[in-house]
């Protein structure tokens, strides 16, 4: 598509206004930009989520668990679409969103197929890791890029990584590395690990164990917790009993359901901080982050969704933004060009977190700082000072090429 700037549009607008006047249709005095938009080609992003997703039940959202979504991340994508208006005009396109909520994996596959056939090339998935993996597999080799905006599971970036899948939500490894850096920087080296009953809790705990080893933390004990008040299980459901009889500098809680973790802060045996799923939590975004233009972004999301912005909104926002940036810089809407540019080294994505960001070529993960936040403040941004990496300090968070089980970069070079 030829790139048109607004000057030529304004020129054609003046001509069309003149024509209107000549035709006696002077009443048609639309502002220039609105008229010009009618000439723009549609450029739609797809967005797929579950229509009946327990994460978005009213009761759950009201609790505002740290590290969980407080509404569907499509709100973040909507903000990004609004922001893309002028870049879109300059490129001759009108960016839009096509949202579909579905019931099961079969419907996800059908929806992706339909979107693809209608010309959509970039689809955001607010779905669990297993489904994301299945979709990526199904459409391997197609002119399609999928954005994982919700699943933290390390395996999606490791053994199960796929070339058509980019991750804007950070991995568990990135979040845990950020926390580990913080603990090391405070010299809170001895950590007690509490692990919930869910399978996902074990996955998060395993990821933290890797981070602990990577940064030299000492896990002084690992204890399983359960929910409830059953007195016969109190050694496993009472935060105080669970954290007694051992010394530690901090307690890490792996609790993907958040209920136990929320209650554990200030309820453990020793006067020590709680981190992980509550207390100090590592996330892609925090509504109290104020630097690097964050205030304005938070305001836009709040205006749009009537709630605070979370890391999930940010992930959807930056997914759209990455493609808008590619359109702007390549001056093109050609899929191959955009797909190459967005994955390349040249891209300079502004995530309002103060670092230049781009996607890792070895596993498709967006490299980004992590915000370490309490309920209403960001205490630190990782990578923390002093944690160095030969290529990019952001690569101290998550799997770097030497550690990654994913071989996307090698495949690319081999092909």
């Amino acid at each position: 598509m030829a790139r048109r700037d607004l000057r030529s549009m304004a020129g054609s607008l003046r001509r069309s206004v003149l024509l209107c006047l000549l035709a006696g249709a002077a009443a048609l005095a639309l502002p220039g930009i609105a008229t010009a938009q009618q000439d723009l080609e549609a450029f739609d992003f797809g967005y797929i989520g579950w229509n009946d997703d327990p994460r978005y039940s009213e009761a759950r959202i009201e609790r505002e668990y740290q590290g969980e979504p407080w509404g569907r991340p499509i709100d973040g994508a909507r903000v990004a679409i609004d922001e893309a208006r002028f870049p879109g005009m300059a490129a001759g396109v009108k960016f839009g969103l096509n949202e579909k909520l579905v019931a099961n994996t079969r419907e996800v596959l059908e929806t992706v197929r339909a979107m693809r056939d209608a010309g959509t090339r970039f689809i955001l998935l607010d779905l669990p890791a297993g489904t994301v993996s299945r979709v990526a597999e199904e459409f391997a080799g197609d002119d399609l890029t999928l954005f994982n905006v919700a699943a933290h599971d390390d395996r999606l970036r490791g053994a199960h990584c796929q070339a058509n899948l980019l991750h804007t939500i950070p991995s568990d490894a990135m979040r845990n590395d950020a926390l580990a850096q913080y603990l090391v920087s405070r010299q809170w080296d001895d950590v007690l690990l509490l692990v919930g009953p869910e399978r996902a809790d074990k996955v998060v705990a395993k990821s933290f164990q890797r981070s602990a080893k990577r940064f030299g933390l000492n896990i002084v004990g690992t204890r399983d917790f359960v929910l409830g008040n059953n007195p016969r299980e109190r050694d496993r459901n009472n935060p105080k009993l669970l954290t007694s009889g051992v010394d530690y500098d901090a307690v890490y809680i792996a609790d993907t359901q958040s209920e136990f973790a929320r209650n554990a802060n200030f309820a453990i045996q020793k006067p020590r901080p709680v981190v992980g799923s509550a207390g100090l939590v590592a996330q892609a975004w925090h509504w109290a982050w104020v630097r690097h233009g964050a205030r304005q972004l938070n305001n836009r999301l709040e205006k749009k969704a009537d709630r605070h912005m979370t890391g999930y909104d940010w992930a959807a926002w930056v997914a759209v933004k990455s493609i808008v940036e590619a359109v702007q810089r390549t001056e093109s809407t050609d899929y191959a060009k955009l797909a190459t540019y967005v994955r390349g080294d040249e891209i300079n994505l502004d995530g309002f977190k103060g670092y230049r960001m781009g996607f890792r070529d070895w596993d498709g993960q967006l490299r980004q700082p992590m915000l370490l936040g309490t309920g209403n403040w960001v205490v630190a941004r990782a990578p923390l000072d002093g944690f160095l990496h030969p290529d990019n300090y952001l690569d101290t968070l998550g799997f770097d090429p030497r550690e990654s089980a994913c071989r996307l970069a090698n495949e690319k070079k081999g092909s």
Binding site: L6, I33, E83, Y355
Partner: protein
């Protein structure tokens, strides 16, 4: 404005100082005015001695500063009170307020002194504000997070950056239409215009560069990148820019890289990086042209840079989070 006994006390002191320093009452004093975001004051320094001579209370979160063309008024954008305060320069105090301006950060004053041209960051609008009528007369939609504003000396054109759209909007001030959108680097912030009006300089905070725009063609003619030694690319965040009074150099403040770059205007070569304070943004040139004043937002001070020696002579405390600095030169 907030009133508390402590601040009123300071006001009284300021008034006493004012009475004792007749130099303050004349235009073109060479005095230095610095806004400090967290103290809600504009601090006045003597241009020669660099002593603090006055502290002017303003509304909350003062940032951008600009004199009226005749230098009798100093306008102060106060973001947290949606106001642009008007300081009477001779009196050394706020004598008027232009209110209901949503979170103003940067603005420009037209050559006739009758209008303000304001970027409204939260509304993605550029507005033209009638000072006498105290109201916005026009609002124009622009890209998200509009920031830097520059009005040409003939008053016919305004340039506005959009930090999120990575663009410079060219606004025709007769028709109030956007004439062109020029894609520049990432997070474009502020402007400087060459004396002949042909070259517009714009700082790109996230690209660590300056784009040069040919104002005849509205195309980017060159991009100058900054690479001071020992800094990671993401710490090189150019924001403030000043073309030297003799037109030979552009001085660019590099934000978190804590340096001012000296750029040769003819060759576009970066000749030097001069160390200043933490998160250097605001910049002004002294009345005698020999020094630069640079406000450092994260070290709460202002660096005094000797232009000939290309080094910082000293730093002086400038309130909490100093934002902008302007000099009371002779009236234009």
């Amino acid at each position: 404005m907030r009133f508390n006994p402590y601040k009123q006390g300071r006001l009284a002191v300021a008034a006493a100082l004012l009475a004792a320093s007749p130099a303050l009452l004349a235009a073109g004093t060479g005095n230095i005015y610095v806004s400090s975001e967290d103290d809600d004051v504009v601090t006045v320094f003597d241009g020669k001695s660099l002593e603090k001579v006055d502290t002017i209370e303003v509304s909350e979160r003062p940032r951008w500063l600009a004199f009226s063309p005749d230098h009798t008024k100093l306008y102060v954008a106060c973001g947290d009170e949606d106001s642009i305060d008007v300081i009477d320069v001779a009196e050394g105090k706020v004598t008027d307020r232009l209110t209901d301006i949503d979170d103003p950060e940067i603005f420009a004053i037209g050559p006739d002194g009758k209008h303000l041209f304001i970027s409204n960051e939260d509304d993605a609008q550029f507005s033209i504000y009638d000072i006498a009528g105290k109201k916005a007369v026009t609002k124009i939609d622009v890209g998200q997070e509009p920031e830097g504003v520059l009005v040409t000396p003939d008053g016919k054109t305004a340039y506005v950056t959009s930090e999120v759209a990575n663009m410079v909007h060219v606004v025709n001030l007769d028709s109030h239409e956007i004439e062109a959108n020029i894609v520049v680097g990432n997070r474009p912030r502020r402007f400087a215009l060459s004396e002949d009006g042909n070259t517009l300089w714009v700082t790109n905070e996230l690209s660590g560069s300056v784009s040069l725009i040919d104002t005849q063609t509205n195309e980017v003619s060159d991009t100058i990148e900054f690479n001071p030694k020992g800094f990671r690319p993401e710490d090189v965040t150019p924001v403030g820019i000043k073309l030297s009074d003799d037109g030979s150099h552009a001085y660019v403040t590099l934000g978190r890289a804590n340096h001012v770059a000296f750029v040769n205007v003819k060759s576009h070569e970066v000749e030097d990086y001069v160390l200043v304070g933490d998160r250097a943004w605001g910049i002004a040139q002294s009345r005698d042209g020999k020094q630069l004043y640079v406000t450092n937002g994260l070290s709460d001070d202002m660096s005094i840079v000797d232009i000939a020696q290309r080094k910082t002579l000293r730093s002086i405390a400038a309130g909490r989070v100093p934002h902008s600095v302007v000099i009371d030169t002779a009236a234009e």
